[in-house]
């Protein structure tokens, strides 16, 4: 299973992802970026790479074909030694706060859903709250208020509050999806949210 399979599975189950295309080579990558419109992000597709960021397999904010070419070459260099299936070109997500929405199947309680401040430092800050699935809107509100960083969600430093409706919808959807497909573990991370909605930028599953 690659990232692309995961993306497709999510889309089939009603999750809206930011537009993306896959490319096998530089030429296809340029075409994909052109179709989607700059700026774009580029991500390595490989079954062998667990954490793309750690190996230099993610480039964001690519603004032009020239930059894309350089980024593509660099990425291929970084991924030397791994079996690579190509790259994924993704329209850049909105600017906002990075959240993680995830879940796992607990041996005693079954599926549970987790919400937290996302990004690459998730495991360091561990600012997450959890509930056993299924959950209701009320539960998600409590999950948000339990986060140490909830003032960020409520709109810190003059920013508008994030769309709680969008966050709620994603959390509920995640629970339903995990139960339906009996997912063992999953991350939607980061999910970038602003006042009007959320973009799912990356996903990871264990089925």
């Amino acid at each position: 299973m690659t990232m692309v399979d995961d993306f497709e599975l999510l889309e089939k189950n009603g999750f809206r992802l930011i537009p993306y295309k896959t490319a096998k080579n530089e030429k296809q990558a340029l075409k994909a970026a052109d179709d989607l419109g700059y700026p774009v992000a580029m991500k390595i597709i490989s079954k062998e790479i667990e954490h793309k960021t750690d190996v230099g397999g993610v480039k964001t904010g690519i603004k032009s074909p020239e930059v894309l070419k350089i980024a593509y070459a660099e990425m291929m260099e970084n991924a030397k030694g791994f079996e690579v299936d190509g790259v994924l070109i993704q329209k850049m997500a909105r600017k906002g706060v990075e959240l993680i929405i995830g879940g796992k199947k607990d041996p005693q309680f079954g599926h549970m859903v987790v919400l937290g401040i996302g990004g690459i430092y998730v495991e360091i800050f561990k600012d997450v709250s959890a509930r056993i699935c299924p959950v209701e809107g009320m539960d998600v509100e409590e999950m948000i208020s339990e986060l140490k960083s909830h003032p960020i969600i409520d709109g810190a430093r003059g920013e508008r509050p994030l769309s709680k409706k969008a966050i709620q919808e994603l959390v509920l959807k995640t629970c339903k999806f995990m139960i339906k497909k009996d997912i063992k573990e999953m991350d939607l991370n980061p999910v970038i949210c602003d006042h009007s909605g959320c973009d799912i930028v990356d996903v990871r599953f264990r089925r």
Binding site: E50, I100, G102, I132
Partner: protein, 461 residues
């Protein structure tokens, strides 16, 4: 399973008890348990069972269950694991009401085969089994007591309205000992060990319907059926507050995690999530269980306005700090409250919350201040800090605080920080049922849990 839960009444209120494995050898389990009944004011029939003896502790001893003529409500089994299935069959034939199985050596020693048999026999005959591998039960109302720790080493608590349900016998015995020491009254004690037949969810359901129980303390390490547990917790907690302590909060078993979520969310996180969903109160350690449960015996607060009375400014300030840390709020005194307070303060005193009665105020000032706050609508919870070391303070304060608690108009929490003298007073307060704390942290934490729970219950209505 429903029927079996109902039948637990025959274990908790037995008119006759058989102790299988009774022995005259002192300090053996079968001896201690028998002594509990003989010396512990149990006034039903007591039948020691052991083929090796004719008489133990002056009681006729029976070779086996079937040789007992009378009806048996409860059989306490303390014989080796291998003998259990046969004895259970005999109990079933004799229509014994229920079994308390103290014996160990089943699931925990890899003998799942015998455990399976136990379950089979119990279910087939609708015969409830507490245990095995446990301390069993204690009910101060009926005096049934299968705790195999001698009474001189482990005091038994007085009758009250707190039910203790514990998976671990060691934690259970500690709880019992501390409850007795602090004068905490209990309604039912259940140490359920391996939960082979009935589990924590069943016992929660039982105490939910138990008329003596008002508050529930639960100690668990793990549950088998998390979903059932969550649903039962939700149901029970709406009727009676559950205060839970989860042992084993480690992060084992996550080696295979592939995602961030998998890495962060250990099994404890699932428990923690379930507790939050059920709105049960989670305690952080053994002593906190007691700190919290004490205040749950008070009338529920109608709101979250806190009033603090103190005779030591600094302790009032520290208490206020914790009130803020716990996201509680100090009530704003109304004009009429302020007027009343001004009357009782010395000319140099300050009317404010926390209300500092100053060190040279005595018992009478407390009495008046408490009365004013009890009458003030803006105050829902009274935190009363009493420095017992000050010159004008004397033993009449015990009466004043006890009355404030007994009147049951508003919940109170008292704080007295100090050494041996203070602790002696605190113990009297505890025994009088007054929530008394040796630190502001503990008191305020307990108040917060109580306020939060009361809000939740109010919202349900």
């Amino acid at each position: 399973m429903k029927m079996m839960v109902k039948r637990l009444d025959r274990i908790f209120y037995p008119k006759s008890v058989a102790i299988v494995g009774a022995t005259p050898t002192t300090n053996k389990i079968g001896n201690v348990v028998l002594k509990n009944f003989v010396e512990g004011m149990f006034d039903g029939e007591i039948y020691p069972v052991n083929p090796k003896y004719d008489e133990i502790l002056g009681r006729r001893c029976y070779p086996q269950i079937s040789k007992i003529a009378g009806k048996i409500d409860c059989a306490v089994l303390a014989t080796p694991a291998d003998t259990i299935p046969e004895i259970m069959n005999e109990c079933a034939k004799k229509k014994v009401g229920g079994i308390v199985m103290i014996t160990s050596g089943f699931e925990e020693s890899g003998r799942t085969d015998i455990a399976e048999k136990i379950r089979e026999i119990a279910v087939k005959n609708n015969m409830p089994v507490v245990g095995p591998n446990c301390l069993g039960v204690f009910n101060p109302y009926s005096k049934i007591d299968s705790i195999f720790l001698p009474m001189y080493k482990l005091e038994r608590p007085r009758a009250g309205n707190i039910a203790f349900i514990t998976q671990s016998g060691a934690v259970g015995s500690t709880i019992i000992d501390l409850a007795a020491y602090y004068g905490v009254g209990i309604s039912k004690f259940i140490s359920y060990g391996n939960a082979t037949v009935l589990d924590e969810s069943d016992y929660l359901e039982y105490v939910m319907n138990d008329k003596e129980t008002k508050v529930i303390i639960l100690y668990i390490e793990g549950v088998k059926d998390g979903r059932k547990f969550l649903e039962i917790m939700k149901k029970v907690n709406k009727k009676k507050p559950i205060i839970v302590l989860k042992g084993g909060q480690g992060r084992g078993g996550q080696a295979a995690a592939k995602s961030h979520t998998g890495n962060i969310a250990g099994s404890y996180m699932a428990y923690n999530a379930a507790f939050k969903q059920a709105k049960v109160i989670e305690a952080d350690g053994l002593y906190e269980l007691f700190d919290i449960v004490k205040i749950f015996n008070q009338p529920k607060p109608k709101g979250d306005g806190i009033g603090i009375i103190t005779n030591g400014g600094g302790l009032g300030i520290i208490t206020t700090d914790f009130v803020e840390k716990e996201n509680l709020h100090l009530a704003e005194f109304s004009e009429s409250t302020k007027k009343e307070i001004a009357k009782i303060l010395p000319p140099y005193g300050n009317v404010g919350n926390p209300l500092d009665l100053v060190a040279d105020s005595g018992v009478d000032s407390y009495k008046k201040a408490i009365e004013i706050m009890m009458n003030a609508d803006e105050i829902n919870v009274l935190i009363i800090v009493v420095l017992l070391q000050t010159p004008p303070m004397d033993e009449r304060i015990i009466h004043v605080l006890t009355k404030a608690s007994d009147d049951r108009r508003k919940p109170i929490a008292t704080i007295s920080v100090g050494g041996a003298y203070t602790e002696a007073y605190r113990k009297i307060l505890e025994r009088n049922g007054v929530p008394s704390y040796s630190s502001p942290t503990a008191a305020v934490k307990a108040v917060e849990r109580f306020v939060t729970y009361s809000k939740y219950i109010k919202k349900l209505k």
